[in-house]
Amino acid sequence: MQGFIYPNEYELYWGLLIVVYPYVTGLVAGAFILASLERVFNVKEVQPTYRLALLTALAFLLVAPLPLLAHLGHPFRSYEIFLTPNRQSAMAMFGFVYAWYLMVVLLLEIWFDYRKDLVLWYRSETGWRRWVHYALTLGATDLSEKSLKFDDKMGRWITIIGIPSAFLLHGYVGFIFGSVKANPWWSSVLMPVVFLFSAIVSGIALVLIIYMIASMLRWKPVDMRCADKLAVFLFYAMVVDVSLEMLDFIHRLYESEESIGILTQLIQSRLFISLVVLQLVLGALIPLTLLGLTSPALSKEPIFKVPDELRRLIYLGSAILVQIGIFSIRWNVVMGGQLFSKSLRGLTVYRVELFGLEGLFMTMALLALPFVILWVLVKVLPPWTEDEAHLPQPGAGTDERPSATLP
């Protein structure tokens, strides 16, 4: 502790789990926005990751409320948010935003996209898979041209609704922090926008990581056109994200309100590693440089032509650094906002617990859980050409969207 803090500020009331929550919802929103690139904006190159991105978004969305629940003093009363929401409260809207996004956007889009394949799988399979796939069709097994056209049209419309919904989901999480006028570190109108763009960055990077590692595990070659395109989008999203963060930073510095002294101390001492080293240098500047030099982001031909294998490695490394950077952003927002006193006269410290509901192990479990869910989802709803899941075909070409041939 340093300087003066109000006696009630000794304890930090939002811990690691509240860092995980915006991190995870950001990944959901980002992965979905990436998926919508292919669907709505017809970016054909990223098509191999379309379904993977949707399933990733779903896996992470299912986990998103868990850190919040585990953090509540009375988790069994959480349903009150649905029953008697305080309409003035930003947080009260969480349940509705979440339900809308899960039920209306993500599940529906996945269902319409997979329905044809579910029917095909159900017709060609035996055993439990057949029944799981049949159950998932919800009985809609019509594969006439008209119904397939309807699926496609619906999927497109849902994606169009889904883009603003994904913006809403994560912009809203930013609003929860940005609207706290008591806290000068949080209170900023830019907060939802910064959250949103950092979400897009984290989502693209995550899908890139999962796509590359999944290809490796499946002994499939990575589609370099797709990887290049993802890297380019990652680069662009990062440029916007870092610019917005810099704008926020410069704006605060220039306005130099009464909180500037304590916030400067905060950055120089408590947040130096997580903000300057992890978020800015490792999480942004290094990946930006690497991607800018080796991907076709700045010109049609990369500045440094590197072999595919090295480029893949650079992309993977950059994407992992980006994840560290984005997690640091969430940490710096959530913890940074609590490490200085609202008296603006002192700094406090956060002690990470290892065990317990809000401890480090719980956090790691919650971050690992979406990957377990994703593994199950990929087993049940293979996002790549259906045969590959069962019959590995080494040396096969690039991933393609599951073909729509009747058996």
Partner: protein, 269 residues
């Protein structure tokens, strides 16, 4: 120079018999008068309103508190009374009310401390640094804001403002999300370590409905804290508000506090 005849009269046996009061009787009568005098002088200070018979009507009241910074001596009695009255944990980081000590030196260096919330008073200042220009104590508590950010952010409405102006938490309803603690600009809220719900100053609401003032006001030996009706009544608080230049904490946040300070230094946040 004229001399009084009393000493002579007192010396004679005749005067002894006819003396209207002797000292013992005088003291006895004084003793009898104490409750009456106190009743007249003190009761209006202590009582929030006439004692009710269980038919307290919140719509008839609007409460606030006045704090005269010049009168606070940092004794910590209010902190102890509050902890005792409201079952606040006795540790050093859960407080409904606490006292801050400010020391402003000639080089404009400001030191603030609140050891154990001021519960045990304040140890002598370390004499480091330049000469002290001014120093004072500031009692702090929930400001029971009319535009309370904590009430705004509570997702389930467990934190609410009563008709008579107190900001309270429904223990049976609070889900323990702690958003209200983050939203309070004054550090007045905390999470109860046993019940896991948000906790704060209630203006001793259980005492108000019985016609009593908050415990901190009752025990303050210097009358630095005043409690009562904010509107239209001839209460000590109304006088306090009439005759002092008043300030509230962090007015720029537009929370409209109902705790008013007199003689508050600009350094206090």
């Amino acid at each position: 120079m004229m001399s009084t005849d009393v000493p002579d009269a007192a010396g004679s046996p005749a005067a002894e018999e006819s003396k209207p009061f002797d000292r013992r009787e005088f003291l006895k009568k004084c003793g009898l008068a104490v409750p009456i005098v106190l009743g007249v002088v003190r009761v209006p200070l202590l009582e929030a309103q006439a004692p009710s018979n269980g038919d307290y009507d919140p719509s008839e009241h609007l409460y606030g508190m006045g704090i005269d910074v010049n009168k606070c001596i940092g004794c910590g009695q209010c902190v102890l009374a509050c902890k005792t009255e409201n079952d606040v944990p006795l540790d050093s980081h859960h407080f409904n009310t606490w006292i801050e000590r400010y020391v402003i030196r000639t080089d404009e260096e400001v030191e603030v401390d609140s050891p154990n919330g001021g519960l045990d008073g304040f140890p002598p200042m370390a004499s480091e640094g330049s000469e002290i220009r001014r120093t004072f104590f500031v009692p702090k508590l929930c400001n029971h804001c009319a535009e309370a950010p904590c009430v705004q952010v509570c997702p389930v409405g467990a934190t609410f403002t009563t008709e008579d102006g107190a900001v309270l938490v429904d223990d049976e309803y609070c889900i323990g999300c702690r958003y209200c603690i983050q939203a309070c600009p004054y550090g007045a809220r905390w999470l109860h370590p046993e019940t896991h719900v948000a906790a704060k100053c209630t203006f001793c609401y259980h005492r108000l409905v019985d016609g009593l003032v908050p415990a901190c006001v009752e025990v303050c030996p210097t009358g630095a804290r005043l409690f009562g009706e904010l509107e239209g009544r001839a209460t000590p608080l109304a006088r306090f508000m009439r005759f002092n230049d008043l300030q509230v904490l962090k007015p720029h946040l537009n929370t409209k506090p109902k705790v008013y300070y007199a003689n508050l230094d600009g350094e206090v946040r």
